[in-house]
């Protein structure tokens, strides 16, 4: 009887303690809002993340080591790490004009080196190995993923400060984007053999918008036609969310995915703010979750289940928290000013991504260079999209 009493009392004490502790746990990890956000200049977290990224691009040894370990898993990450950093540096340069002399040379180094690698090794250098497998439907092979992101890197650099040598490069890249998309009656182009990705099309549309802003071209009608087609043909009828990938006939391969839709909604904000906000709201309802002050994103809505892949990253069972989708959700929440969800996501980041600080630099243990660059982008995004809305000078 005494043993039973002791066991019951201990269990009761543990239950009570858990009921007190678990709802309070987030209080020890929720960062003050000012650490992550500021309307001008750089918030402190962004500065720490930026210092780490800048260090990698100014210390060749560290960069090589970081890129090699990412490429052993996925060559795409090497490329996207460059892209997110160039976009981040553009935002930072607009936030801190006095620091442009520091940021612009790094942007130029990244762009120049990326173009060199593409020229020497082909676009497949930045793609996963299966890009070299079955033939692309459209020949010669080109990847909208690589063309679109390079175009937007060039445009972002020029939106901060004009660089004459990038003007013909952007014009040529925009011509390729258009020509490839216009080959298909649905205006979609491959990134991998018979694989077309929403993410890459959204990047391409923003690159077209940026070219209009910079060079006075007019792709408004093309962008409108693409969006009308996507609303009709590339949308999941149950959730109203855009599919994340489709084949060249427009049939869905992957349904709506958190690792794509948050970033796609942010990108689409530059070309159709109302549609983008609608996609964000739907994603928030279908994928965004919070509990006890922590926030995360599911990779798939309840009505769709896809396979785990490099985009979803690890998915934690029971709560269905996807590492990749939760990272991208930070960008979406930041872009659409969803302060409560953003705070919950940041709390999860501080709790479960294992920040590591040294010499004024910050990286997340559970992340890698591309993940940290995306987090930096989430902290600083804003001014570039505002500049995109200005008319061509």
């Amino acid at each position: 009887m005494a043993r039973l009493r002791n066991a019951v009392l201990s269990l009761a004490a543990l239950t009570l303690a858990a009921a007190v502790w678990l709802p309070c746990l987030h209080l020890f990890f929720t960062p003050p809002a000012a650490l992550w956000h500021s309307t001008s200049g750089l918030p402190p977290r962004a500065r720490e993340l930026a210092e780490r990224q800048l260090h990698l691009w100014t210390e060749a040894g560290s960069r090589r080591q970081e890129i090699e370990r990412m490429r052993r898993s996925n060559a795409e990450w090497d490329f996207m790490g460059r892209t997110f950093l160039v976009w981040s540096l553009a935002e930072m340069a607009l936030r801190e004009p006095a620091e442009q002399a520091r940021y612009l040379p790094v942007m130029d180094t990244i762009i120049t080196e990326t173009l060199r690698l593409e020229r020497e090794h082909g676009q497949a250098f930045f793609l996963m190995s299966y890009a070299r497998g079955p033939a692309y439907v459209e020949q010669p092979m080109r990847s909208l993923f690589v063309d679109g992101e390079i175009a937007l890197m060039l445009a972002a650099r020029r939106l901060v400060a004009e660089q004459a040598e990038y003007r013909p490069l952007l014009r040529a890249r925009v011509a390729v984007l258009l020509e490839r998309m216009q080959r298909n009656p649905r205006l979609i182009a491959e990134s991998y053999p018979d694989e077309c990705w929403l993410f890459d099309h959204a990047v391409a549309l923003v690159a077209l918008r940026a070219a209009d802003r910079l060079d006075g071209s007019d792709h408004a009608a093309f962008i409108r036609t693409w969006l009308d087609g996507a609303k009709k043909n590339l949308t999941d009828p149950v959730t109203g969310l855009l599919h994340s990938s489709f084949n060249t006939k427009g049939a869905a391969r992957d349904g709506p995915e958190g690792s794509t839709i948050w970033m796609a909604a942010h990108l689409l904000r530059a070309v159709d703010a109302d549609f983008a906000r609608d996609q964000y709201r739907r994603a928030r309802r279908e994928l965004g979750r919070t509990l006890f002050g922590f926030g995360w994103s599911r990779e798939w809505p309840r009505t769709w289940r896809g396979p785990l892949d490099v985009d979803s990253g690890l998915v934690i069972p029971v709560v269905d928290a996807s590492v990749g989708a939760s990272g991208m959700a930070l960008i979406g929440a930041s872009s659409f000013g969803d302060a409560a969800y953003l705070r919950a996501l940041q709390t999860s980041l501080e709790f479960a991504a294992f920040p590591i600080r040294a010499h004024g630099q910050l990286k997340y243990g559970a992340s890698n260079q591309v993940g940290d660059a995306a987090l930096l982008y989430a902290c600083v995004l804003g001014p570039l999209w505002e500049r995109l809305q200005e008319p061509h000078p």
């Binding site: 201990s10 004490a13 543990l14 898993s73």
Partner: protein, 106 residues
């Protein structure tokens, strides 16, 4: 010295249904995190992103070390405070449900 060690060992081995036993287990969890942190295993949590730590260490080894770090971290951050709170609550609960006096044998 020997008495202090013996006391410490007895405390660590106290039954889990006692306040001392709960606090001792919390201490073990906190010390586990201190150990794996001092060993630098936080870096290996990068396996969560699907990225190996360095070329010098195998992917599987890095994942195991990273997983051990995460378990120690969750133990220290989530479980240890619960155990400590429970050890503080237990005496109060005992007062609410006092032990029945043993009846004398007829």
């Amino acid at each position: 010295m020997k008495t202090a060690l013996q006391k410490g060992w007895r405390w660590l081995n106290a039954p889990w249904s006692t306040p001392a036993g709960l606090a001792a287990r919390a201490l073990v969890l906190l010390l586990s995190l201190a150990l794996v942190h001092a060993l630098g295993w936080r870096e290996h949590t990068t396996f969560l992103s699907g990225t190996p730590t360095t070329a010098a260490i195998g992917r599987a080894t890095a994942a195991v070390l990273g997983l051990l770090y995460i378990l120690a971290y969750l133990g220290a951050v989530v479980l240890a405070p619960i155990l400590l709170l429970a050890s503080a609550l237990l005496p109060a609960l005992r007062r609410l449900w006092p032990r029945q006096p043993t009846l004398p044998k007829p």
